[in-house]
Symmetry: C2
Subunit: 212 residues, 2 copies
C-alpha cells in the first residue's frame, strides 16, 4: 500500500482534498472529484471560490440584536424602518430566517436562538440566546412573540421553556406558535395521525381561507 501523498501524486492535490473533505457530507472520493474539477477550471474561477470562502468567514458577523448573520453590527432586518417592531419571531437558526423571509408573509423582527434545548445532545438553555430574548422583551416594545421552532420534542420543550420565562417577565405579552396541520398539497391519506388530530382540533373557518 502506498502512502496517501503518493496516491495523489501531489501534496497540493492532497491538501485540497483533505480540506474539502472536512466539509459536512463530503467524503474523500467526492473531495477528489471536486478538486479534479477545479483543476480543469480557469484560475479566476478557483480564486473566486477560494476568496469567497475566506471573505464569508472573515467578514460576516452576527447581529447584536437578533443574532441573525449580518455584515454590520445591526442586521438589515432589525435596522429596517419598514418592519413591525412589535412582533418577534423566535427561530432556531439563520436558515429558518431565510425560510420565513421567502414566504413573504412576515414583516416583524426575528430572534435566532442558535439551537433548541436538547439534553440528549448536551444543549442547555444557557447555551442558547434565551436570556437575550428576555432582555429584548423587557423594554415593552414587543407585543407578540411567535415561536417558530420545529414541531419536535426538543422544539416543544424549548417553546415551553421560553413561554415560562417570557410570561414571568411580561405576563401581558402574546405568545403564539406556528400552526400545526396538513402540509399544503399533501394527501389526507398520507398525513400521520398526530398531525391529523391537531388539524381537526385546530380547524379553521373555511371562509377565512379566502379572506386571508
Amino acid at each position: 500500500m502506498t502512502t496517501s501523498t503518493d496516491e495523489f501524486q501531489s501534496p497540493l492535490l492532497e491538501k485540497a482534498v483533505t480540506e474539502l473533505s472536512r466539509l459536512p457530507g463530503i467524503g474523500r472520493r467526492t473531495a477528489l472529484r471536486l478538486a479534479l474539477h477545479l483543476l480543469r477550471r480557469e484560475l479566476d474561477d478557483a480564486e473566486a471560490l477560494g476568496n469567497a470562502i475566506v471573505a464569508l468567514r472573515r467578514d460576516i458577523r452576527y447581529c447584536s440584536v437578533c443574532h441573525n448573520i449580518s455584515e454590520t453590527d445591526i442586521c438589515p432586518i432589525c435596522a429596517s424602518p419598514a418592519r413591525d417592531r412589535s412582533v418577534v419571531c423566535v427561530v432556531e437558526s439563520v436558515r429558518d430566517v431565510m425560510s420565513i423571509e421567502r414566504t413573504g408573509q412576515f414583516r416583524g423582527l426575528y430572534h435566532v436562538l442558535g439551537g433548541v434545548i436538547s439534553p440528549m445532545d448536551g444543549i442547555t438553555p444557557d447555551q442558547l440566546e434565551i436570556d437575550s430574548l428576555v432582555d429584548r422583551i423587557a423594554s415593552g416594545e414587543v407585543k407578540e412573540i411567535i415561536l417558530g421552532l420545529s414541531a419536535t420534542m426538543e422544539g416543544d420543550t424549548t417553546c415551553f421553556y421560553i413561554y415560562r420565562k417570557v410570561a414571568g417577565v411580561n405576563p401581558d405579552i402574546k405568545v403564539s406558535q406556528l400552526a400545526r396541520g396538513m402540509a399544503v398539497g399533501n394527501d389526507l391519506e398520507y398525513t400521520d395521525e398526530i398531525t391529523l388530530g391537531r388539524s381537526i382540533m385546530q380547524r379553521t373557518l373555511f371562509s377565512d381561507s379566502f379572506t386571508l
Copy 2:
C-alpha cells in the same frame, strides 16, 4: 418574492453560495449548508480551505511526458529511476492513474489521454493525447503498451484506434489490454452474461492464481 440577496441577508453569503454551487453535484441548498457550516468554523479553517483551492489550480501543472498532474515539468512517476520505462499504461484520466497506483501492481509509466473517443459527446481523436503517445513510442524505448481504458463502447473504440496507430508506427510493439472477467468477490449468479462469456473464453490456468 424577494430577491436572492434579500433571501440570504448578506451579499457575502450569497457570493459564497453561488461559487460553491458551481461545483459539480452541489446545488444551492447544499451550497448554503456548506456556507453556514464554514461560518461556524474558525477563520483559520476557512483560510486553509480557500488557500488550498487557489494553490491547487495555480500551482498544479500537467507532466509534459505523460500528462498526469504534476507540480514540476516532469511528474514524479516519469522522473523515477525505479519505474520500468519499457511499459506504458494508457489511461483516460488522472483519477485512473491513482486507481492503478493504489493496486501496487504496476511499476511502468503512464500516458493520460484526457478522455476517450466519443462521437456522441463530440470528442474526436485530435482532442486527446494520442499523437503525443505515438511520438513517445517512436523512440523505441517502449516495448509494451497496456490499454487501461474503460470496458465500454467508447473505451473499446479508443483502444482499437490507438492499436491501429501504434501498429502503424512500430509493428513490433506489444499492445495488451486489462483482463475482462468476474470482479473479485462477486457471485457468478450476478455476473452479466457478456462478462461471464469473456471469463470463459479468457480463462486462466488455476495453478497461475497461486504462483502470481
